[in-house]
């Protein structure tokens, strides 16, 4: 069953990748040009509180209802949202970790990233604008 599920997911990813390419963006003044995949994971999963430039990072999530959020985490760490939520529940227990803010939508995402110095979020490439900077691309 697990194996079937993985195959299915992979198919879905390919389909998603094909449908909409997700990119990670930061505030223009975040002082970061590129981020590695590990840096992205560490920032979004609470390991790093600072961007490489030394500015406190503020990750922003899309609402759980948006498929991009699920796609993002799948592409990033190959986990579904439930797993990510369970993970974050542990972190919430200690309360020390800054959890990502939740944007209301793509627009809100852009605003939050652009509006916070260390803001970092993810969007479909098509939906980004100049206010943000692409620092990571999920290579096809």
């Amino acid at each position: 069953m697990m194996r079937l599920a993985v195959i299915f997911c992979a198919l879905a990813m390919l389909a998603g990748g094909a449908a909409a390419e997700l990119v990670v963006v930061t505030n223009r003044s975040a002082g970061v040009e590129r981020l590695s995949r590990d840096e992205v994971i560490n920032i979004f999963l609470g390991r790093l509180q600072l961007l490489p430039s030394g500015i406190a990072a503020q990750p922003v999530d899309l609402p759980a209802t948006q498929p991009e959020r699920s796609t993002f985490y799948r592409l990033l760490v190959s986990k579904d949202l439930a797993e990510i939520n369970a993970y974050r529940a542990h972190l919430m227990f200690s309360g020390r970790i800054v959890l990502p803010k939740e944007a209301a939508g793509a627009e809100d995402m852009l605003s939050l990233v652009a509006g916070t110095p260390g803001g970092i979020g993810y969007l479909e490439r098509a939906k980004i604008n100049d206010r943000v900077k692409v620092v990571f691309e999920f290579s096809p």
Binding site: L45, G46, R47, K79, Y87, H90, L91, F93, S94, I97
Partner: protein
Amino acid sequence: MASEKPAWRQSILYLVAIAAVGSALLAGMIFIGITASVTNERVEQQTTTHLGELLDTVESTLSIACFVQDQVLATEVARGLLKNSVVLGVAIRGSSGELVRLYRDDASHKVDTVKGRLVRKIRSPFNAAETVGEIVLDPDPESFARVVKQEVSFIGILLWLQLAIVIGAIVIVMLRLIVRPIKAMSDRLHRMNAALGDRLSIPGGYGGTEIGRLAMDVNALADQLVASLDDEHKLRLQLEMDEKKYRAIFDNAETGIFITDHAGRIESHNRALSRQLEFSASANASPDGEGALIGELAWCEPGRLGELIISCVDDHVTRNGDFEYVCADGASRWLNIVLSPIGGGRAQGVVSDITGHKLAEDAARRQAVTDPLTGVANRPGLEQRLLSAIRQCDGNPDDGFALMLVDLDGFKKINDGLGLPIGDLILKTAAERLRACVKGSDAVARMSGDEFAILLPRVTEEALAANIGERIVRSLGQVYEVHTTPIMLGASVGITLYPGDAKDTPTLLRHVELALDRAKVSGGNHFTFFDPAMAEAAERRRELESDMHIALRRQEFSLFYQPLVDLSSNRLVGAEALIRWRHPTRGLVPPDAFIPLAEETGFIVDLGFWVLEAACRQLAIWQGEGKEFYLSINISGRQIPDGMSPAWLAATCRKHGVEASRLVLEITEGVLLADANKALDWLGEVRTFGFGIYLDDFGTGYSSLSYLKRFPVDTVKIDKSFVRDMGGDKSDRALVEAIIAMARSLRLQTVAEGVEDATQLALLREMGCDRVQGYYFSKPVPCEQFDAVCQHIQGLLA
């Protein structure tokens, strides 16, 4: 030591139980040891597994805590782990340092003993390849040991239980199968009387087992024992019967039998011995004699008996000896004891009374040394006494004895004249007189014929011996009254002294004989002491005698011839043959020096043959030369009648072809005196052969005229002593004249010898003597000079 232990500690059951418990303990301990070590390992493994599983449950949370370096979360996880009793402490490290380290409060003293520490790397939740931290989990050693202890004690209890059951089973089986039947058999054996036929019954169901076989073996043994006892009983009965029989033989034997030990203690004896040794009468022995020391009984030589016993026992050799025993009444008894070793340092003695034998033996021995006629000792008896006397004197230079030899002078004549019975009576009387002359301790012995010997112990001085000798001569010289006929006899005594004269019996006897000979030769009726000169003389005679024998072989003898002249025809008619001895060292030995010895020893017989031969040879020569001489030879008394038999004379003459009438035999009066009858026969026979007989030395001896009548002689030879003195002594001249006249009247011819000068010749011619010989004509000459002498005589007579 074993006997000091209580009985139950020796029982098989106890021993088996001890062995079983011991081996069970050992096995249990080894088993528990192994179990403990295995359990230890297993529990350690289990603990590790358990801890691993524990970690698995918190791994995801841990990985998150490490991933985000969250100390709170890590502490929470560590606390959760510590709640597990097995966990002693937890340490969690993130990628940048230790997040948390938590230990139990009481862990500080245990940390060092921790075993099986679990260390696990923590992976990132998002990347399995990335290590984000590490957790160290220390198990609690006490809890670990507790588990092990629990397990081991549980297994131990099980084991002990098992062993107890097994031992119990063994003990019960032993008790039922072995101990009880053995005990039953043992009890039965205690009560069993095998002789009455009781036997062991085999316990039920044990027929084929070792117990059953043991019971059967015991029964078989009992059968054997009973059989052997029966046999032995029979044997003992037989032995008792035998013993009774032998005891009866032993007790009733007429011979004394005893058994003695090494020391001579009588251990056992029979009745005969009691009788023989008079135990009831002996003060030294108990009434039955048992335990008495045999050496303390009344033996004359107890020491010798003791030695005999010791030598018998020590050498294991049968010994015997004769012993004198003094009875209570003082009589002595001779007992022969034969001792045989019987082992165990003891000897068996067999005692026979040989008193009768001994007395007979003594009598025989006495008889052997006694002269039956006179009752005095005989020659062997004297020799014994001599030997013992010499032994007694041995080692004592002052001691000695005298030995005398006594001879009755003229006894032979008495014997011949009056007969043997008279002679015996005289000998008896002489023996009695001799005994009377000496002390009881002195020994008188008859040596032979009329010769007695007397041994006088402790007579060492010549004066004393002379005294006794004198006494003997006097005593024996007294008149003997035989059948009222008085007979007179002299006695000669030779005396020798020990140790002065000689040291041994044969020499003593020879010396005393020499002394006696001297006494007799010097007239008799007196005593003479031995003188070494006698021995020397005897030695010289002995040498001479041996030389004579050698001389005959070496032809040292030769004949000399003294011419005989016939006065009527004035011619030389013959010669007297005279023997001469040319000794290689002594020179010419005169006949006087050896003829008497030759006569004494009998050598004269051999010499006579030689003379006869030589004379006949010479006659044959003369006969061959045409000379009609005759020869006279001297015949000694010893040669008549057998030494020179008439037949031999005739045969020798015949051998040489000499006529008997040419040979003249000169004999002396002594020949006729000795044994007249034999001499007469001899003379008669000789004359019938034709030999002439001259009676030599006429006038010097008895010169009984009756002899001239009785004996057929044809010529009388007038002794030269008369002829020599004829010139000066008228009586001699008358004597010669008378002899010649008498001879003529008896128709006998006369020959005068020793004519030394012409006066004598003229006188003899005047008296009518037929023939003469003497130095006037010639001394005796060897044959080679005889012819010259013949010429000389012819000249004298012409």
